[in-house]
């Protein structure tokens, strides 16, 4: 009888430590979505695209305190980090690398794998295209990046020539596939930009090819011309009207600069924008920015009550400048953001005409078409008057809340709006890029590229130059030319970073020019 007791007790004890059947299920989070569940409605592949598109743009530190400041569209009233920060050439935030790899390259890799498994090659090519959209932006920050060798630990970098060749080759593949499947409906429910219309995507592929070709027009003129002409002559066409623009859906989120401007009061119109838009009497100014409430801020141009902050300004207190112009309140209700549009394509065509590429009309016709497309896009009237203005120039800038010439600048831009065939190619290019710069409002990445590539528009230098030996010292009349590699890469992938610096042909500093930044225009 006693034995039975012990047998029972032991049986009880060992029965506890034996059953592990439910473990696998327990260790899953029921509030997550499994791949199995996502197979319903084909979301396993389709649902991956929205976050990819969302991540084509980052947030405050990715753009507002980086390229939007360097391209001088928006400027900051806030004294970040004692005023030694990205905007004053002391690299404090360097987040685009991680965002691009973590949120685009890796997830798109998974999408491509899943799409291949599901035999949906159209989606594979779509993901490939998104990668090019994202990586062509990342390389504009750093130069050599990890692309063709992406996919392993401590991966190698591509030199820029290899990178751009890879972009073009992949665009070829994508284009061929899209053309062969032009009537496919698969993407429809997952494509918030073009509703799954493949012909629209074909126009984007050609337009992207044209953009990238123009970037390298001085670095590799032969390749640039070949690729540019290929884009210009392709039967699929280019983005020619604003309804063909690639707009990225915000997925119900607020356009992020609204939060930065209205919520945090961390950004305002730039002084350069004030100088250019007021000087040219540009009607788009009211579409881009809000008027200031206090007329005392704009004694020099009361008819244009808009006030901007000097880029890389010297600042005492944030409150000194928060009364300057916000971005337009209209942005509070926008639902999408332009990635590439018809105006940009026209301006590239105008430049292509200067460069003698075939397949384009006259530089003037494309220049004026670019301005017209931009006015149409923003719903601004008076393009004809604007284009006829051959007298007005951008104005000098006075930071009215500060005494003396602190933050002030004298305008260096010398071209008017009206086209003049008698001008030199250099002056014509100045006009084209200056108008391209204005038209690019809300997406400054290519304007920042153009400014480094061509030197136009003739932007003022930043006022408070805090560049230092850590990231590279710039003279006060120099502009930042790139962003250093991330600490993560420098620490964990040091050998490959060293190789990349070799490709760069200069130190890993902010003053080192990228491949396409040759310093010459013709």
């Amino acid at each position: 009888m006693k034995k039975i007791k012990y047998i029972l007790i032991f049986a009880f004890i060992f029965s506890i430590g034996a059953c592990t059947d439910g473990f696998e299920e327990l260790n899953q989070n029921p509030n997550q979505i499994t791949d199995e569940s996502l197979k319903q409605d084909f979301q396993i592949v389709g649902s991956k695209y929205a976050p990819l598109f969302q991540n084509l743009f980052g947030n405050q530190i990715h753009h507002n305190l980086s390229n939007e400041s360097w391209a001088q569209h928006l400027a900051q009233p806030t004294v970040f980090v004692g005023n030694a920060n990205n905007t004053t050439y002391d690299i404090t935030w360097n987040p685009n690398w991680d965002r691009t790899y973590n949120n685009i390259m890796s997830p798109s890799g998974l999408v491509m794998l899943l799409a291949e498994e599901a035999e949906l090659p159209l989606f594979v090519h779509w993901a490939k295209l998104i990668r090019i959209l994202a990586m062509s932006r990342l390389t504009a920050f750093h130069g050599p990046v990890i692309f063709t060798q992406f996919g392993g630990a401590q991966a190698g970098y591509d030199s820029e020539p290899i990178l751009y060749n890879a972009f073009f080759t992949q665009l070829d593949e994508i284009l061929a596939f899209f053309k062969a499947n032009v009537n496919a409906q698969d993407m429809m429910q997952f494509d918030e930009s073009y509703g799954g219309d493949i012909s629209s995507w074909i126009r984007l592929v050609n337009s992207m090819r044209l953009r990238l070709a123009m970037r390298i027009s001085m670095a590799d003129p032969v390749l640039a011309k070949t690729q540019g002409e290929k884009a210009l002559s392709d039967s699929g066409g280019l983005i020619e009207s604003n309804d063909q623009n690639l707009n990225v859906f915000l997925y119900g989120k607020v356009y992020h600069p609204v939060t930065i401007s209205f919520g945090w009061a961390d950004t305002r119109m730039s002084a350069t924008m004030e100088s250019v838009l007021v000087g040219y009497k540009d009607p788009r100014i009211s579409k881009f920015f809000d008027e200031v409430a206090d007329p005392a801020l704009v004694p020099d141009h009361p008819e244009f009550p808009y006030k901007g902050i000097r880029s890389g300004a010297s600042l005492d207190a944030k409150g000194d400048h928060t009364m300057y112009s916000n971005i337009s309140s209209d942005f509070k209700t926008v639902t999408e953001r332009r990635f590439m549009g018809a105006a940009e394509v026209e301006f590239i065509k105008a430049e292509a005409a200067l460069r003698g590429w075939s397949g384009v009309g006259t530089a003037q016709s494309h220049y004026e078409a670019g301005v017209n497309r931009s006015f149409e896009e923003w719903g601004a009237a008076g393009a004809a008057t604007y284009l006829a203005n051959n007298t007005d120039l951008p104005i000098d800038y006075d930071d009215i809340v500060y005494q003396g010439d602190r933050n002030d600048f004298v305008n260096k831009m010398t071209v008017t709006v009206a086209w003049d065939n008698a001008l030199s190619n250099e002056e014509k290019l100045d006009k084209i890029i200056t108008q391209k710069w204005i038209a690019s409002r809300t997406n400054t990445m290519e304007s920042w590229v153009d400014h480094r590539r061509t030197g136009y528009p003739k932007l003022p230098n930043i006022f408070d130059n805090r560049s230092n030996a850590e990231d590279g010292i710039l003279a006060d009349d120099e502009f930042l030319r790139r962003v250093i590699y991330t600490n993560g890469q420098r620490q964990n992938n040091a050998a490959k970073v060293a190789e990349a610096v070799g490709f760069l042909g200069g130190p890993d500093e902010i003053g080192t020019r990228l491949w396409w930044d040759t310093g010459a225009n013709f």
Binding site: F23, G109, T322
Partner: protein, 1009 residues
């Protein structure tokens, strides 16, 4: 039954034969003052017929001659001879052997062991010592009372969480908190959210749910050796809480009441004579003025703590019961902060089936409500706006007019204005009175712990025990910010962050015990199994965020009012099942030598799919009572040496093996990019410790010394990964080593009829070393804030604080910028020091004189650093007293060099101001590092015991004057270095706008009826 019948027949037969001397059966209970003693030996003198008592002190001996003598022996007690004299029931109460002062201690799983036999370090703190000074957060009272136990409290005020760490940080992934066990059953001690350097508030923890008056004692098992019976949960040490039980005898009613006041010890040293220039938010004027200097002090108030309790205990031989009720009401030192707690507990035990089975049940109920815990970091923290306020402005304008009516919206807003609202739009600061009146944080916890245990005495050697415990907590965190607040953190219609969830833990175990003595050997053995199921944070969570449409209508905080853009989330943090079997054998020889062997096998659901879900780990320990083995000089009363080794497995966190995709608040699917970790292994912690327990002069003086060495391997670490599919991966790698010593000295230097003095001194020193991290990454970033970083780096230590230093030349002079003349900071962060102290001491004293007694606890931490972002920003904003003193003087002294020329004086703004100088958010960290060393009078109580002999209805009454954290004998930092921003591991020793430390003084009355 059958046996009984046979016995009776046999008895009748014997009676009939008329024999006088005959063999009989004797049974009984062996106990000490506090209850039954398991494992005591009962031997028939002059024979080898003997048994040891079971779990409940029961023994039964057969074949005992009616004239025999029983020898009852238990280590630490005086041996007793008892004549049988024909009795069949013999109950013996053993007296403590005063010459040995040995204690019976409760170790793992509620098992009582003689302290002498232990092969590992264990220290016990009595409940009365913890409760002498009635700290609202009673766990803080543990500080200094046990060697090697590091206690740091949150600055969030009453009901705040506590960071407890035993023998250093062992794991790179968890927070190395010990396991808390109530009456042998693990309890849930989930911590709420912790503030970052930017934002947030302490979410409390699970310990505050206990009524400290219910605690009989707390034992601390420091090593993994001791903890092996709890498995991985015990890898960081175990704190065993034994609660009070009813005692047989007359019913006792105890009433205690304490009232105390709490006040801040000091604010940072602020200046009030230099204001701002041109309306700047910083106070960098060089012209002094006569400005108000009271608005900071006026903000703080005196807090009151009222702690009242009643307990009833009583019972008879069969059934005992204990009931208690406790009520705590506490108001904080900052306005609108209060804390209320109600505790009920009911515990009863009954013996049934001829006393063979004992059923014990225990129910603990608690309810806690905390309003407006003190925040830390910049966001929505009243202290930033309060401390930085421009001296030349009138604070009362803002105090009275914190909201300005906006006719466009028909509501009040904290608008930008010079005469109300707030004078600056700055995400780091808000009008403190706006925050006070318009933003609230209510935390509401309810908890029940119900426990049933059945102990069955099977026979002389075997006993079996089963326990079931259910621990259930419901927690609500409700944070409401009204429309019109700081535009960085409050949306147009306000902001609501709400969490409502339950934490539950089901625990069951079964343990079979075996006790015996065979010749010179004693055996204590057990084999058992546990089942444990946890489900934490099961509920909902919502944060309406910063979008205009987050809340549909202003200032309505409920689910109906949430805009379509807001994601309401289902939450679940931990859904784990663990099963274990374990065994433990303690073999003793002649009560001199003991060997302790244990082994455990765990099955953990968090390792599902890896093939490693089952894992085994062993421990071995030895102890030798040298004073019994070797002849010792007379003055040595007792000497024991002990050594033990153990390995303990620690499973990985929940849901890490194959994480899935997530639906984002934008309605899209965020794809998982963490690589599945299908070959994960449990983390392994190996420990080795040796110790010596030496008591001298009739045990008036004792020394306990321990050296330990703990190595943690196969850490669960996350590293970035650039692959086609994944952005990060987990790996098992790394090695972290903790080694140190612990010394406890206790003595009773004076004992006279009227006066006695007893004292305990604890010393501990721990060294932490990160020996290896991973083959492909050297830094597993831990955290930090702003200029301060707390990385985990190979060759470094846990708690290392990195930051920017001054650039110095070869002579150590600070290098000044060629143009602006400000001190230059190093390009990269460098090691500033370590947050952990070099060593810690705690010294407690008990003095008794007639009816008076004094208890005093002095705690000291020596070495280590703390970092203050608060001070850095005080300088940046020009409100620190030192920046004003420098302006009075016209310069600050400096040993510096500029353009090759020596500089001895520097302009105050250039030195302290944000931008050129040391201050501000990202200034020169080195300037804001302080020595952590502090020595304080942590507790003091002076009690008077009333003479109540004449009163029948009162058996005991005492009144005490009590105080906590009374003053510092020494302190370097401009704030209390033992207060921490966050009780998690991410920001060791980094402080950022925490509430200043508080002291309490009060009266405590205790009456027993």
């Amino acid at each position: 039954m059958k046996n009984n019948l046979l016995k009776k027949m046999f008895f009748v037969a014997i009676m009939l034969t008329g024999s006088v001397i005959f063999a009989q059966t004797v049974s009984g209970i062996i106990s000490d003052e506090s209850g039954p003693l398991p494992g005591a030996s009962v031997l028939v003198k002059g024979t080898s017929n003997g048994v040891t008592t079971d779990f409940d002190g029961n023994f039964t001996l057969d074949n005992v001659a009616s004239d025999a003598t029983l020898v009852v022996d238990f280590l630490g007690f005086k041996s007793q001879d008892v004549s049988v004299a024909g009795k069949s029931v013999i109950n013996v109460t053993l007296e403590v052997d005063a010459s040995q002062l040995d204690e019976v201690v409760v170790t793992a799983l509620g098992i009582k062991r003689s302290e002498k036999t232990l092969t590992f370090a264990q220290q016990t703190v009595k409940g009365e010592d913890l409760m002498k000074t009635k700290d609202v957060n009673f766990v803080n009272a543990l500080s200094g009372k046990a060697a090697g136990v590091e206690v740091r409290q949150s600055s969030s005020g009453p009901g705040g969480s506590t960071k407890i760490q035993i023998r250093g940080a062992k794991s790179a992934s968890g927070d190395s908190q010990p396991l808390f066990v109530i009456d042998g059953v693990p309890m849930t001690n989930n911590k709420g959210g912790q503030p970052s350097g930017w934002n947030g508030v302490d979410g409390g923890d699970g310990l505050s749910a206990l009524n400290p008056d219910d605690i009989e004692s707390m034992s601390i098992l420091k090593g993994a050796n001791a903890a092996i019976l709890y498995g991985s949960d015990g890898a960081n040490g175990v704190v065993i809480i034994t609660t009070k039980s009813g005692k047989a005898g007359a019913t006792k009613v105890n009433v205690t009441s304490s009232a105390s006041v709490r006040s801040i010890i000091d604010t940072p040293e602020l200046q009030y004579r230099y204001g701002s220039v041109n309306g700047a938010k910083e106070n960098w004027s060089y012209t002094s003025g006569d400005y108000a200097d009271n608005f900071v002090d006026d903000w703080f108030q005196t807090g009151f703590d009222l702690i009242n309790g009643v307990s009833v205990s009583g019972g008879n031989d069969k059934t005992q019961a204990y009931f208690s009720y406790g009520n705590t009401t506490s108001t904080g030192v900052s306005p609108n902060n209060d804390y209320k707690k109600n505790n009920f507990s009911f515990k009863q035990s009954t013996k049934v089936l001829n006393d063979k089975v004992k059923i014990t049940s225990n129910v603990i109920l608690s309810q806690e409500k905390t309003k407006n815990r003190n925040r830390a970091g910049y966001y929505n923290n009243p202290l930033t706006g309060l401390y930085w306020f421009p001296r030349d402005r009138n604070f009362n304008d803002f105090k009275d007019n914190y909201g300005i009516f906006n006719p466009d919206r028909n509501l009040d807003e904290m608008s930008l204005s010079d005469s109300g609202g707030w004078f600056v739009q700055d995400h780091h600061q808000s009008n403190p009175y706006w925050l006070l009146n318009k933003e609230s944080q209510d935390d509401d916890f309810k908890r029940v712990i119900a426990n049933l245990s059945v102990a069955w005495t099977i026979d002389d050697h075997f006993s079996f025990q089963m326990r079931m415990n259910y621990d259930f907590a419901k927690k609500t965190y409700d944070e409401q910010r009204m429309a019109g607040g700081n535009t960085t953190t409050v949306a147009r219609n306000g902001r609501w962050a709400y969490q409502d969830f339950t934490d539950s833990k089901t625990y069951m175990d079964g343990i079979l015990n075996y006790n015996n003595s065979i010749g010179d050997f004693t055996v204590n053995a057990l084999v058992g199994a546990t089942y444990q199921r946890t489900e934490y944070r099961l509920g909902v969570s919502v944060n309406t965020g910063m979008e205009d449409s987050g809340l549909l209508y202003a200032n309505e905080f409920n689910f109906q009012n949430i805009g379509p853009i807001v994601q309401v989330g289902s939450t679940l943090n931990n859904n784990v099942e663990k099963q274990s079997i374990f065994g433990n054998v303690e073999l003793g020889w002649k009560e001199m030598l003991f060997v302790d062997l244990a082994g455990r096998n765990d099955w953990a659901s968090t390792l599902a799919e890896t093939g490693n879900e089952s894992y085994f780990y062993p421990s071995i320990g030895l102890s030798a009572i040298l004073s019994k083995i070797i002849e010792m000089p007379d003055w040595t009363s007792f000497l024991k040496a002990r050594a033990s080794m153990a390995t303990i497995g620690n499973e990985v966190p929940w849901n890490r093996i194959t994480p899935d995709n997530r639906v984002t608040d934008a309605g899209t699917v965020s794809t998982n990019t963490v690589k599945p970790f299908l070959d994960a292994k449990p983390e392994l912690i190996s420990t080795f410790e040796v110790g010596l327990d030496w008591r001298m002069f009739k045990s008036r003086l004792g020394i306990d010394f321990t050296y330990y060495d703990i190595t943690s391997k196969d850490q669960f670490l996350r590293f970035p990964l650039e692959s086609q599919l994944y952005t990060s991966e987990y790996i098992n790698a790394g090695e972290i080593k903790n080694s140190g010593i612990e010394i406890t000295l206790n003595g009773t230097p004076i004992v006279t009829e009227n006066f006695s003095w007893s004292t305990t001194f604890n010393y501990s020193a721990n060294t932490n070393e990160i020996i290896e991290l991973s083959p492909n990454a050297l830094d597993a970033g831990l955290g930090g804030t702003e200029g301060f970083a707390a990385p985990l780096i190979e060759g470094g230590s846990f708690g290392d604080i990195w930051g920017f230093k001054f650039q110095r030349d070869g002579e150590g002079r600070i290098i000044l910028d060629d143009t602006d003349g400000g001190p230059l900071k190093t390009a990269q962060r460098e090691l500033l020091g370590n947050a952990e102290p070099d060593f810690a001491v705690g010294w407690s004293n008990n003095l008794n004189y007639k009816s008076w007694s004094v208890n005093m606890q002095i705690n000291g931490k020596f070495g280590g650093i703390v970092a203050s972002q608060t001070e850095s920003l005080l300088d940046g904003n020009g409100v620190s007293e030192r920046s004003a003193a420098a302006r009075d003087r016209g310069y600050e002294n400096i040993n510096a060099v500029q353009n090759g020329q020596p500089v001895t004086q520097i302009d105050p703004f250039t030195y302290y101001g944000e931008g050129p100088g040391t201050g501000g958010r990202n200034g020169i960290s080195e300037a804001y590092i302080y020595d952590r060393t502090s020595v304080r009078l942590a507790q003091l109580s002076i009690s008077y015991q009333f003479n109540v002999e004449q009163l029948d209805w009162i058996s005991n009454a005492s009144l005490s004057l009590i105080g906590n954290n009374l003053f510092y004998f020494y302190k370097d930092a401009p704030f209390d270095p033992e207060i921490t921003n966050s009780t998690s591991r991410s920001q060791p020793g980094i402080e950022n706008y925490n509430l200043p430390a508080t002291r309490t003084t009060g009266l405590n009355l205790s009456v027993t009826f």
